[in-house]
């Protein structure tokens, strides 16, 4: 086992991890504003990729038109979902909210596949599949692109949450009643966070769609995204980034050693183990707020 190989595993793991962060940022945005764990983020991601494909492949638009169009459409899809389905469940037990997002997930997945079919397609971002050599390490170009998108989104949201609009969103996540009392429209704020999460879903869908093809498997990212979000703290965007890197490295290096023992496929096992251990040991995650349940 030479060091270069270990370094390669680590760096590639971190890059993949940042792609999980991309997904997790969508979850965090919604959880932050409304404490709703959005289990439909996987389906939103998939839908985002399919909408991009519908514009670029079916209608023949160039990608630089198709992606912004999809972003706009998905923004309103997100707002619509919140307005139609989630808003009236406010204050209900968490099981109903969870079930609602699962129902939305199943519905969106079914509808997407009914419209566009389930066969895997590629986005054709035009990123070369040729690996990039850094020293002796082999790195995947698309992973680097995706990781950069994740970091760029992180910076964008970091700045956004310091803007006046962002501060208002944070106020909403702190206290609904107090937000109403100073004239902040909680409904619009929560809707906005769903819209933003759906935009993130488009980015996630395009990047992951380029890596593994646009098909149903995009929605299976949910478990990894959730694990990253929980490990980082469900309401922390910086947490999502850090936890993504940690999970990515653990998964890549860990599975290399574990696969020899258990005979392959240990990635999912590592992810599940990280999720269970996080919840057991530190439920609020690395950077999350320390109020899991109000007494």
């Amino acid at each position: 086992m030479d060091l270069v190989f270990l370094a390669e595993l680590t760096v590639n793991g971190a890059l993949t991890g940042l792609l999980y962060s991309l997904f997790a940022i969508g979850l965090v945005l919604i959880y932050k504003s409304s404490s709703v764990p959005n289990l439909a983020q996987g389906a939103l991601t998939m839908l985002g990729a399919y909408v991009v494909l519908a514009f670029s492949h079916n209608m023949g638009l160039p990608l630089w038109v198709a992606i912004p169009l999809a972003v706009v459409i998905m923004f309103f899809v997100g707002i619509g979902i919140e307005k139609v389905a989630l808003r009236r469940l406010a204050g209900r037990p968490v099981i109903m909210i969870l079930m609602m997002t699962m129902g939305i997930d199943i519905f969106l997945r079914g509808t997407t596949l009914a419209i566009w079919g389930g066969s895997s397609r590629s986005v054709d971002l035009g990123v070369s599949y040729e690996p990039l050599f850094v020293g002796d390490m082999l790195l995947s170009r698309i992973h680097i692109v995706g990781a950069s998108v994740a970091l760029a989104l992180f910076v964008a949201f970091f700045l956004f949450f310091r803007s006046r609009l962002g501060i208002r969103l944070r106020a909403i996540s702190d206290d609904y009643m107090a937000s109403w009392s100073v004239g902040i429209s909680v409904e619009r704020g929560v809707g906005l966070s769903w819209g933003l999460a759906s935009i993130v879903a488009v980015a996630t869908g395009v990047i992951w769609g380029e890596i593994q093809g646009v098909d149903q498997s995009l929605s299976i990212l949910l478990l990894k995204g959730l694990t990253v979000a929980v490990l980082g703290g469900l309401d922390s965007i910086i947490g999502a980034i850090v936890a993504g890197i940690i999970l990515g490295i653990l998964e890549s290096v860990g599975s290399f050693y574990l696969d020899e023992i258990v005979g392959g496929g240990s990635r999912d096992l590592i992810v599940a183990a990280v999720l269970i251990l996080t919840v057991m040991i530190r439920p609020h995650g690395l950077f999350g707020r320390h109020d899991i349940e109000r007494v």
Binding site: R164, L165, A171, D174, D175, A178, S179, W180, S181, G183
Partner: protein
Amino acid sequence: MAQPKTTATDQILSLNSIEVLYDSVLLAIKGVSIEVPRGGMVALLGSNGAGKSTTLKAISGLLKAERGKVSRGEICFDGKLIGNILPQDRVAMGICHVIEGRRVFEHMTPDENLEAAAPMSMSRQKVNSEKARIYEYFPRLAERKASQSGYLSGGEQQMLAIGRALMTQPRLLMLDEPSLGLAPFLVAEIFGIIQRINKEDGLSVLLVEQNALAALEIVSHGYLIENGRVVMHDSAEALKANSDIQEFYLGGGEGKNFHDIKHYSRRKRWLS
């Protein structure tokens, strides 16, 4: 009971026998009428569960969040009926409600708390000058403006809550139990500042208090609410002089027993 002799335009706020229903079954307020003169300070007094906070929520529209609604009567702010206006639009009109229990945005700094409350239409310069004005009122806040609000002391949090409300540029400030759980010298300090804002800016204030003694020192009029009804209202001096008020709310007089208190309440309710 004597009605104050004023014309409608002198009132910034008037409630005309409103009723509030929670969950379509629970009648919490049963015909409350209140008037706040423009630039005046009025107190709503009463014991726990009398309906003071509910009255404020009816005015600010926050009832909606608790599945309550105004089922009868009208709320008139500045000559306009506001019964069907959303809470955030009422804030834009100039009604701001400092809710009970110092609900500051705990995970944000005081500075961010103030910014969150500034209307989106307010210019950057104006936000800064408003913040400076509020720090001038509450110098303690300026000292702690970069720390996390959740770790401020109770008095500082109350000041922050009031300062945050002032950022919305209100013309009517409604305060729900600002003295709750605070040391007497802090209550005096906060009430002094409220009085100062009232004098300097002509801000109308509707104050809900259980601490009737402190409240009656700074307001001009007081309303006494019991079981969702106004059972007495008069000028602050008259209320302070009233023997029953002294007995039950100001803690003076010789001890009547609890039976008499209940009896009093019942009798007054029939009379009102």
